[in-house]
Amino acid sequence: MSAYAVVYAFALVGVGFAAVVLIAARVFRPSVPYARKDSTYECGIPAVGSTEVKLNIRFHTFALLFVLFDVEILYVYPWAVTARELGRLALYEMGAFLAIVFLGLAFAWRKGALSWEQ
């Protein structure tokens, strides 16, 4: 029996648990909606405007940076698993690779992409 059968079972149980719990609560709980209860929470006063507000551009910058560096993690993991067998040369190569990645980080740092306030 493959270990991945258990993984599929886990995924299935995860989805099933969420569905059962959220739907079962619907059977037992009361439901008395009215307009004021369903209004947007704003500390007691009516909400002003919509949620289409201007957002800080930083969120997008950090999302882009995350994608870049997260891909680097995927390059480093396979090397880390075989680091002992591959020996010195691969170690130096990974050193060069990480140095380049770090240069990228330093570039972003220098350009101010890593600071929240500007």
């Binding site: 059968a5 995924a11 648990f17 609560a25 880390a80 050193g95 600071s115």
Partner: protein
Amino acid sequence: MTAPKPAPAKAPLPEPVLNRKNGILMADRRWPTDQWAHPWSLPGYRNGALMLAGIILGILGGGALIGELSKWGDKLYALMAAFATAKGISTVAVDAVWVAIKVLIVLHVILVNGLWSIWWERKISAHIQSRVGPTYAGGFHGWAQTICDGIKLFLKEDITPAAADHWVHALAPAIVIAPCIAAFAPVLFGTDLAAARLDVGTLYVFAFAGISVIGVVMAGWASGNKYSLLGGLRAAAQIVSYELPRGFSVVPVIMFAGSLDLSVIADAQSGYWWGVAPRWFVFYPVVGQVAFLIFLIASIAETNRTPFDIPEAESELVGGFHTEYSGMKWSVFFLAEYAYVLLASFLLATFFLGGGGSPLPWAPFTLVPSWIWMLSKAMFMMFVFLWVRWTLPRLRVDQLMDFNWKFLLPWSFANIAVAGLYLAFWLK
């Protein structure tokens, strides 16, 4: 303008109802904080502390019992297979039942952990703040409080705001909890004690734990509330950012162990230096401690707990991404949060604290089963999580991002470089 009315005659206050529990008037009860010098001189405090120790030992014992039973797992499986062949049932059915048993046990661990860790968090926060915590309500030391909370949340009305995107709003908690449960598949509960032994276990756990952030963003986006939106985006930025040092900090561990399989990583830490000091990765000079600290800090940030609870900063954003959630949907978010704390505790114990290995190579320690060690280490790490939460103040959002990108990430790179030197000159 009317003349001010004379104040109505006040009715006499009713006699205060005194709690005569245990024959002690609440009014003249002495609290531990009255006697900082000798808190142990108070029988209530002393007995409470002893009982707390008893409960913790009881939980450990319960875990040990389950672990002990798992020893006979293979025999039980053989018995079931023999029964199936005798009755002419397909072995696929036996396997299905077997997988179901495993999954349900782990699901049980996640749910009981919700009850246990919330109660423990209340107790620890109370003791850190010189309060007594749950004592009177909910039975002995408030053991039933979290159970009552669960029932209450189950029966609470679910309020979906009119401005919300109903489907996305309802789906978000499911998308947070489902990958969280799935991420527990390869988690080690002792030496070779895992529901599924995956050769890519580390990557699998990180990958599944990373999915939950989508649910958080969905919750923030769909609520139709500015606080929720900001909270959700902040949560996304934070979780996503801290995933990088978290991923890079385990690279030295993978290099030393030579595998992504959690069992192999734990086994690589068996043995003792000079016959005394355990070869846990946290004890590898400099690299081990740096990796451990980065992983711990990043794990705390991943679970949005207090020094890093910018996404739900109460003073700025009401409740963050779960402002508009109530009832069962809300509690599912919190179940997932505590499940992630448990997951991080077990990962820390596996990666850095030797998994199920004994800390000392001598008889009374080595006789203790591996699941007790694993559980003790994980519970210790969970205690650190709670301790940090109730000790440190919240970081500001720019400090939070600076700390991650300008401190943790460069140092995790440097850590990999030093680990490479170890591999080249020391460990070979």
